[in-house]
C-alpha cells in the first residue's frame, strides 16, 4: 500500500461521508490556459525583473547620494565637536579647580584695582573679625557660667590676681 492509499484509508475511516479519492474541482478554466501559462509567466517574470533592475539603479543612485550627504554631515559634526572641545579645554571649571580659576581671573585685574580692593577688604575683615570674636566670646562666657551660682563666681574673682599685682576683680 503506497502513501496515498494509506492516507485515503485513514481519511475514509474518519469521515466515511466524503468521497475518496477526492473528486476533481468542478470549476471551469479558460481553454488553453495551462498550455500558454509558462510562456506568459516567463514574460511577466522578465518584465518584473527588468522593472526591479531599473528601480535598483535608482535606489543605488539615491544610496550613493545619501552616503555622500551622510559622510559630509559626519565630517562637519566632528569639526564642530572638536572646536567645542578645544574651547572648553581652555576654560577652567570653577567647581573642578577653584584655585586655578581664581588665579586666572585675578591675572585679568589691574594692579591698582587689586591694591585698592585689598586695602578696603583688610579694614572690613579686621573690623568684622574683632566684633564677631567679641560677640562669640561673650556668648561663650555666658554659656560657661550659666550653671554656676553668683556666690561662687564672686569668690573665684576675689582669688584671682590682676596684671598690676592686685588680688580680686570684684568691685567690693
Amino acid at each position: 500500500m503506497n502513501e496515498s492509499e494509506k492516507i485515503r484509508e485513514e481519511l475514509s475511516e474518519l469521515t466515511p461521508g466524503l468521497p475518496y479519492p477526492a473528486p476533481a474541482a468542478p470549476f471551469e478554466v479558460p481553454a488553453g490556459y495551462f498550455s500558454t501559462l509558462p510562456e506568459k509567466l516567463t514574460k511577466t517574470i522578465q518584465a518584473d525583473m527588468a522593472s526591479s533592475h531599473k528601480s535598483a539603479r535608482i535606489l543605488s543612485l539615491n544610496y550613493f547620494f545619501l552616503a555622500k550627504v551622510a559622510a559630509a554631515a559626519i565630517t562637519v559634526g566632528m569639526i564642530v565637536f572638536s572646536a567645542f572641545h578645544f574651547i572648553n579645554s581652555n576654560t577652567t571649571d570653577i567647581s573642578k579647580d577653584p584655585q586655578l580659576w581664581v588665579s586666572k581671573e585675578v591675572r585679568k585685574v589691574s594692579n591698582e584695582r587689586l591694591k585698592s580692593f585689598l586695602e578696603l577688604t583688610h579694614n572690613t575683615v579686621s573690623h568684622d573679625e574683632d566684633s564677631e570674636g567679641l560677640a562669640l566670646n561673650t556668648k561663650e562666657m555666658a554659656s560657661l557660667v550659666e550653671d554656676i551660682p553668683n556666690e561662687e563666681i564672686k569668690s573665684l574673682l576675689n582669688d584671682l590676681t590682676t596684671d598690676d599685682g592686685r588680688t580680686g576683680f570684684s568691685n567690693e
Partner: protein, 182 residues
C-alpha cells in the same frame, strides 16, 4: 521533452545558461497542481491567476536561496498557501462586511459558476469548504486533495503535526456534516 526530477531541475537552475529552461520545466511540472490549490481557496479564476503569477515570481527570485532542507514541492506549496492566506486576510480587512457575509460571498461565487449543480457532490464539497476558517481550509485541502503527509504539511504551514491532525479531523467532520445536511 523528458521530465526531470526536482533535484535535476534545481541543479540545472543553478547553471546560468540553463536557468530559464529549468524554470520553465518547473512551471510545467507544478503549474496545474498549484493553480488548483489556489483556485479551491479563492474560487475566482482571475484571483487564482494573479496569485499564481505572484507565486512564480517569488519562486524565481528565491529559488537560489532554497536550502533543500525540505522537498521542493513542499516549498512551492508553502509559498502558494502563504500567498493565498495573505490575500484572504487582506480581502477580509478591506471588506466592511462581517465574516459570515464574506463566507456567503465565496459561496455565492461558487453558485454563480456556469455549470453549478447544487445536487452534485463535488459542488457541495466546494461550498462546504468555504464555511471553514482560512487556515483550516488550507489544512483540509492539503490533506484531502493533495494527500500530503502530516510531516510535509507541518513544513508548509509551520504548525505541529498534532495540531494539524486535530485541525483536519475537525474540518473533515464539519464538511461531512454539511454534505449530509444539504
Amino acid at each position: 521533452m523528458s521530465v526531470h526530477s526536482d533535484q535535476e531541475i534545481l541543479n540545472l537552475f543553478r547553471i546560468p545558461e540553463h536557468r530559464e529552461s529549468a524554470f520553465t520545466q518547473l512551471i510545467n511540472k507544478y503549474q496545474e497542481k498549484l493553480y488548483w490549490h489556489i483556485r479551491r481557496l479563492v474560487v475566482s479564476h482571475e484571483d487564482a491567476h494573479d496569485l499564481l503569477q505572484n507565486v512564480w515570481i517569488r519562486v524565481w527570485k528565491s529559488l537560489d536561496r532554497f536550502r533543500e532542507d525540505s522537498q521542493l514541492y513542499t516549498w512551492l506549496y508553502r509559498i502558494a498557501s502563504n500567498e493565498c492566506l495573505n490575500f484572504l486576510e487582506q480581502k477580509k480587512k478591506k471588506s466592511t462586511a462581517s465574516l459570515d457575509e464574506e463566507v456567503g460571498g465565496l459561496s455565492e461565487k461558487i453558485r454563480a459558476e456556469e455549470h453549478f449543480d447544487a445536487a452534485r457532490l463535488e459542488w457541495k464539497l466546494q461550498v462546504a469548504i468555504q464555511h471553514l476558517p482560512e487556515k483550516q481550509r488550507v489544512v483540509f485541502m492539503l490533506r484531502y486533495y493533495e494527500e500530503m503527509p502530516y510531516q510535509e504539511m507541518s513544513r508548509v504551514l509551520d504548525t505541529s503535526e498534532g495540531a494539524l491532525k486535530a485541525s483536519y479531523h475537525h474540518a473533515a467532520k464539519k464538511i461531512e456534516e454539511f454534505i449530509l445536511n444539504h
